[in-house]
Symmetry: C2
Subunit: 485 residues, 2 copies
Amino acid sequence: MPTALPLSAALLSLLTAAPKAPAPAPVTGPSPQVAERLIGAALTEGHAYARLAELTDGIGPRLSGSEGEQAAVQWAKRSFEADGVKVWLEPVKVPRWVRGEESARVVGSERHRAHPLSIMALGGSVGTPAEGLTAEVIEVRSLEEVAALGEKVKGKIVLFNHSMTVAADYGKAAGLRTRGASVAAKSGAVGMLVRSLATASLRSAHTGAMRYDEGVAQIPAAAVSVEDAELLHRLLAGGPVKVELKLGCQTLPDADSFNVVAEVKGREKPQEVVLLGAHLDSWDVGTGAHDDGAGVAMVMEAARLIGKLKPAPRRTVRVVLFANEENGLRGGKAYAEAHAGELANHVAALEMDAGGFKPLGVTLRAGPGGAELVAPWLKPLDALGAGSVLQGDAGGADISPLIPARVPFVGVRVDSSRYFDVHHSWADTLDKVDPKELAQSTAAVAWVGYVLAEVPGVLPRPEAPPAEAPKPAAAPVGTPKPAAP
Amino acid sequence: MPTALPLSAALLSLLTAAPKAPAPAPVTGPSPQVAERLIGAALTEGHAYARLAELTDGIGPRLSGSEGEQAAVQWAKRSFEADGVKVWLEPVKVPRWVRGEESARVVGSERHRAHPLSIMALGGSVGTPAEGLTAEVIEVRSLEEVAALGEKVKGKIVLFNHSMTVAADYGKAAGLRTRGASVAAKSGAVGMLVRSLATASLRSAHTGAMRYDEGVAQIPAAAVSVEDAELLHRLLAGGPVKVELKLGCQTLPDADSFNVVAEVKGREKPQEVVLLGAHLDSWDVGTGAHDDGAGVAMVMEAARLIGKLKPAPRRTVRVVLFANEENGLRGGKAYAEAHAGELANHVAALEMDAGGFKPLGVTLRAGPGGAELVAPWLKPLDALGAGSVLQGDAGGADISPLIPARVPFVGVRVDSSRYFDVHHSWADTLDKVDPKELAQSTAAVAWVGYVLAEVPGVLPRPEAPPAEAPKPAAAPVGTPKPAAP
């Protein structure tokens, strides 16, 4: 049971001064015993890392519609059951895109010999003809530059080069990957390459989602390694450069998948739901250790540890392992639709999807007074360096469909500065996750989940989004919120 | 003309006190004008980097016997001619090994699903049957451990795991790659994998040379990425693991190639030769920018700059771009044979083959008194941090056949601490070479080459190697001397 703690006068005035604060609740602080139990277990038992090893080494990649994804769903269900946590599956139709054989090369000329290029088709791309597609390359730095070039783009392969060097650049560069093909096709391009969105490279391509605008020719689109984007840039300085691109990818009919939903019922207000989310799918390369196996391991472990508390927290803690975050967001949308009737009772939603790194603090997307509600309860995370409410929004692709229902969002920010070294690449494997850092983030997630389920008041709901805001579904998928630089 | 400089009494006593010093020569110091010209040009003209770009971007990989290698030989000849440096080709028969299609995977079991493995055949390996080779993996850490395991190795694929994490570990781990297959085959292994000899990895395999002992079964051998070696290690902790290996590599008949030899004749003692070497061949992956395009660019630029000095230095400076360092050392051996009659007049040999990194100082393999001879002439390199004689031997794979002739070796040591991030991998590309660092090393090589050709005395020759020492040809090929930690 949480123990009532004496509250300082200053803090009390802070709380009561919060505008639009919810109806006053009995002021209590967190239970030191619960803090010890949750944080102690997360830091010492190694359970989250062991789960992550099962998911990555045991199952491996799990792109929507693949056998790996199906195996992951069954593994997650079995694992929750083994943990004594109630679990069920909620059906989601997911896209099924398959990669196939792929290759690219710079065609030799009198200025240079041929060069193989390290590429990966972007998820959702159409394939090329079997014999490949050969065209001159034209290099641009932005979507706007394509339009400015006009006729010069016609019949070309457009290379979207950019200068992403740190994680904070990802959001800016992701638009090139997501939208570049259709923007280029509108000007008559026949193919699209995007410099990999990577902060480290050993000739490694990084895939990711793209989508085609309606009514525009669908042209093949691939990510090219940073090194090869630079090679093309250098060769283009000397004259025309031709590239041959072969992509065997295709989109098959939608497949049946599931959101995996588990919960620990609240003792006092079981109808009030604190949602802890992560996504179970991954790309088809690497084993999705950071993206988003780590998030899955954290929220599963939070459920396991909170599920063992006697008594249970005041509210229900619901863990959702979303389907299809990477290339469709169908799981997030399906959850919002299936649970539309209870979203008013979703008192908080949190998604972990920025890697298994050390926690830095807590972020909020809530109405005024939110920080004052939770801040005093975060003290047990101080020794992990994560006990403060940080500037910046909380969010997550899979929970973005909950924005219209004004569900408050909470985040445990992690140090994602090295996330894009491996993100969406073959190198996103278990060895990249530091067990210590994963344990620390797991502790933070378990504690924050508990706090949200136990704190006497609930977070004030944020403002409704402006009517003209883009639909959540249009947000670039697969986009985590990297830590501020 | 070098200007006679006053010499301190202390320095004079040092020189005269040197045991076995060569016959006293008129004591002079280096010409400040020449130092300005050589070092200034190397640091400001960017010529070495431009040449490196031609070699890597223009020609690309250049494995022995390939079209790329032939193109590189012709490019080098044309380039020396364009620089006004006398050049000729000396024929070398080189091995011709070709890679072909290759892949590997962990076979799925009830404990884990299948995993693709990132591998590359080792240079010289035989291929597998077209349908591949499937066997259980057995993990070892050393050559000795294979013998200790005895019968357990029979019918298995031996994984040589190791703990190379820094450049200084390379020499130790290289023996596993070079000799592992035959050692494993002696115990009945059917295949061999070696953890890539890498100090960074993004699921990247690093190839390299191997050789088969005579009279032992030739089994297929490949490097596996660090990540995949660790995956196998983890999976093996849970029980037996099977791997399927498909290598399409083969060895074709020897091909015709060349050492590219260029020289600037000495003004006083043209018969005395200072050899500056690097190797023109590379592996078939990446573009050999650090290994050894950078060395090639440095010594070519040294020849160009020294060739413009009027008058020429006292002795002949000969640049040799060796063929086939990576997988045979045929160029080094051919040079030693073709020039056997003049090796007694080779007064120094230097090979640059540890990457295009910043220079740290000068190393020597010479008789007593060598350091005292050159040290006073290195002062112009002080501002580059390279003006000291360092502890540790000088050497180089291609010049190792000159050891029996007691040719003194000189080295310009570079900071190779990051060399093995990219060495022998797809990632060894131009972008990895810092133009500033390449310019600095080029300046050091040009200056040291000039010093050796101009200093009044010659380096005392080192002791003859002991009769029981391994033949130079048996040294692991492709093995640079990384900087001491």
